[in-house]
Amino acid sequence: MNESAAEVAIETVLDPDVRAHYQLAWLSTVDHKRIGILYLLTGLVFFVAGGIEALVMRLQLAVPNNHLVAPDTFNMLFTMHGTTMIFLVVMPLLFGLANYFVPLQIGARDMAFPRLNAFSFWLVPLGGILLHFSMLIGDASTVGWFAYAPLNETPYASRLGVDYWAVSLLVLGIGSVGTAINLITTVLCLRAPGMTLRRLPLFTWMNFVNAFLVLAAIPVLNGALVMLLIDRQLNTHFFLPAEGGSPILWQHIFWAFGHPEVYILAIPAFGIVSEIIPVFSRKPIFGYEFVAGSTVAIALLSVGVWAHHMFTVGLGHPMDMFFAGSTMLIAIPTGVKVLNWSATMYRGRIRLKTPMLYCVAFLIQFLCGGITGISHAIVPLDWQTKNSYYLVAHFHYVAVGGILFAILAAVHYWFPKMSGRMLSEKLGRWSFWLMVIGFNGTFLIQHSLGLAGMGRRIYTYPDLPGWGWMNMVSTVSAFFMAAAAIVILWNIGCALLWGAPAGDNPWEAWTLEWATTSPPAVDNFEALPPIHSRRPLWDDANPDRPDPVVGPDHDGASRWDKYRCAIVAFALSEGGFFGTLILAFLYYNVQPQAGPTAKELDLMKTGIFSLCLFASSFTMWRSEAAHHRGSNRGMISWLMITIALGGVFIAGQGLEYGKLLTHGMRIDTNLFTTTFFTLTGFHGIHVVVGLLLMLIVMGLAVAGDFVGKPAPMLGMVGIYWHFVDVVWVFVLTVVYVLPRCL
């Protein structure tokens, strides 16, 4: 194909009118708006699945001594309901909204890496199908969404449910990390001129901060899942106490992920509310800096308070006291937010349209959920109410009354932009009131049930005084929520078919997504208004009294290279993964295990091979330097040396493995070999991946792809390679050197 023919072909492919005719356009799309909608639809499908699971559970609990479902089925139901709602409903819905609106709000044409974006999305259905496949074959995990050890181990859960659960979460976790990297890079590198970080709309700001939290938290879960899968598949015993493993370590790692996860779900919801309340109060947000800053506070605090999920484990008074204290601190930044939202509404011209109704309900219900959350920070109270329905009520007030209400507000707020049609206000009000009555009816009374002693996760209960009617109220109300969901879907369906045209800016909002058509064109914007403040459309509509200019028009961040930015973010997430594995190694090897210990390892030989690896970082750097000088040959030869040195290192590791294996030390011998093979094995995989990447880069370089051009790929592989070497510094220290000093 000659040049011009190729250009014509590319233009045909890129032409939206031509592409729209392709049957598979939605399946092969890399457009952030379509991917956003796909996320939302996927979330909806799983919402129906998770909702039905919840309704079956409520039916089972409607009357005492009920036998609608068997105990084991009930266990599957609550496990699937929790996992589905968190990982397959709320996260996809929030990622979908972020996907659609973050690029629009910053005036970008798309996400930074559209294909990575599509990849991240398609992992969601893959993970969801994996998870629900186990349900369909009647063998789903029965061990709860946090899958406590040792219940999650083969002796106690010998069938495949937990494996499906773990693999599915691993798949979803990888997708989430991809999305986080993409969001960070998009916000840092693709902002329109004038859209400085100080001027970001709060929804974008909070998704940006949240993406860092995803990078910090999800790899920790991945670490735990990997250990669990190794335990189950290779007969090791990370978490099996009978063989010296530690179930408590699972709890620590899980909640080190699990608590930030709560905020991963909540922070984008805060962002939604921070967008909608000002628009429908006709006032700018009160105290932007405090709302934005408190988000950072919540994100940072959330990483350091996980042990409050473990007050009943028996960690000792000092642990309990410190974590009770730090947990209570979270009330400050969340309180700041609630205060700011209320202050925004105070003396505003409030328009109680459906999105605003949902936000007001969010405010009240989230406050309730927050206050019962603080009550759980009081250790003795926590001992009494842990794993009772009081806790169930608490986290549903946060997750449904808070987060889901915010998502519904967002759906009603942004639907006109996504479809070009208005939703019916009347049906919107119906759905809202059904939802409010249903939600509060279902969960308010569960506080009393919990305080009356009803335990979480029991499949049925005896006919104790008060329990029967309270459960019945809860069940009946749950069906009001189901009705609300149906009304919402009906509303959406009707609006798509017959809804009134929305126009560009039906709510008279001020952020950039309302500056384009509804729905936006493929490339988003014809032209952007000038951006000098946090409300560019206000300035545009009111040139005589614009908002004060915020900060300078440029910030340093806009100069960052997107490839570099993405690979650094990726390295950060991998750092979390390796950090988890390294700490697990320390945990099990500070005191030598019975059987083989780190003293079996050959420090001398490994030291020499390590020098090769460290030297390869140097040669990699020389290779990049040669490319900067414009010397393709220099670059290739330095790259070849790098690959050779990396190969020597991997061969050395292979020798070490061979020696251990011939001496009968396998991964399931004892906890030393388990942690050793896991940690060095994953490092080895990373080295091999690095080598493959370098081979590809070298192939391209030999073909002359990089001559006289910047080579972002070389830079990315370089940073990845340095990262792998830095990880080895820590692994070498902890695995080979430290045990000899202790």
Binding site: L197, R198, E289, A292, G293, V296, A297, L300, L301, G304, G316, H317, P318, M319, F322, F323, G325, S326, L329, P548, V549, V550, G551, P552, D553, H554, G556, A557, G579, L583, L586, Y587, V590, Q591, L742
Partner: protein
């Protein structure tokens, strides 16, 4: 609680250093409201080294030693730097040396190195090493804070970089805190069997319920939780600094 609150430790060297700092400062800098920061720094310094906290840290409690450690690295140098007048500048050749990477490594290194079992023990048993430790903590802490609190705005790190700087420090100290909290190995053997010079061991063991393991756990937790709160507070300082950059001045400058 018996006479614990009267168990002050007289340290002529510390008093001398404090006096020297005050004299040098007030000879060279005219009194302004900033001077209060220096007074606060000196007060914290003296309380750290002479109060019952110091008595507890001398051979009794690892956790008391940890509190001292944190006050010396984080509180005293930060307060002292805030006392410096805006005109104070680091000479250029030192300033070049003090790049963010070096300063970060110093601040975090001050936490890690002194908790290597051998060094921790040496500091708890030898007077000389202990003095060296105090000096190094103040110095390294000062280097860490210099990036954030240098009197001259131009010698400070950019605010958003400051957030990363502090967050990374928080992570590094959290990891150390976690290791100390959960480690079955005694980090500082000197605290295992204290010589009961002051007759307070019964209070510690009985009333406070302190055991060696619990003592180390509390020490680790102090490093893990409250310390991160200090960094977190400083992160807000950076965010406030970042948001307060005015529109006009920088636009004209750039």
């Amino acid at each position: 609680m018996n006479n614990l609150i009267f168990d002050w430790v007289w340290s002529p060297l510390a008093a001398l250093c404090a006096a020297a700092a005050l004299i040098v400062y007030f000879c060279r800098v005219r009194w302004s409201r900033r001077g209060w920061w220096l007074l606060a720094a000196v007060a914290v310094y003296l309380l750290t080294l002479m109060s019952p906290l110091a008595a507890l840290a001398q051979g009794y409690l690892f956790s008391a030693h940890m509190l001292q450690h944190i006050l010396l690295v984080l509180a005293v140098p930060a307060l002292a730097l805030m006392a410096l007048p805006g005109s104070a500048r680091m000479p250029a050749r030192f300033a070049r040396l003090l790049n963010p990477g070096v300063c970060w490594a110093c601040g975090v290194g001050a936490m890690w190195i002194w908790h290597a079992p051998a060094l921790c023990n040496a500091a708890a048993t030898s007077r000389l090493v202990s003095v060296g430790q105090t000096l190094s903590l103040l110095l390294l802490g000062g280097m860490f804070w210099w990036q954030l609190l240098a009197p001259d705005e131009g010698q400070r790190i950019a605010p958003l970089h400051g957030v990363v700087y502090l967050f990374a420090a928080c992570v590094a100290c959290t990891v150390l805190g976690i290791i100390l909290t959960f480690s079955p190995v005694t980090v500082c053997r000197a605290y295992l069997n204290p010589v009961d010079r002051l007759g307070i061991a019964p209070i510690l063991k009985g009333t406070w319920g302190m055991t060696a393991a619990r003592d180390q756990q509390i020490g680790g937790l102090i490093m893990w939780v409250p310390m991160c709160m200090v960094y977190l507070g400083a992160i807000f300082g950076q965010l406030a600094r970042w948001y307060s950059v005015p529109a006009e001045t920088v636009s004209t400058a750039s």
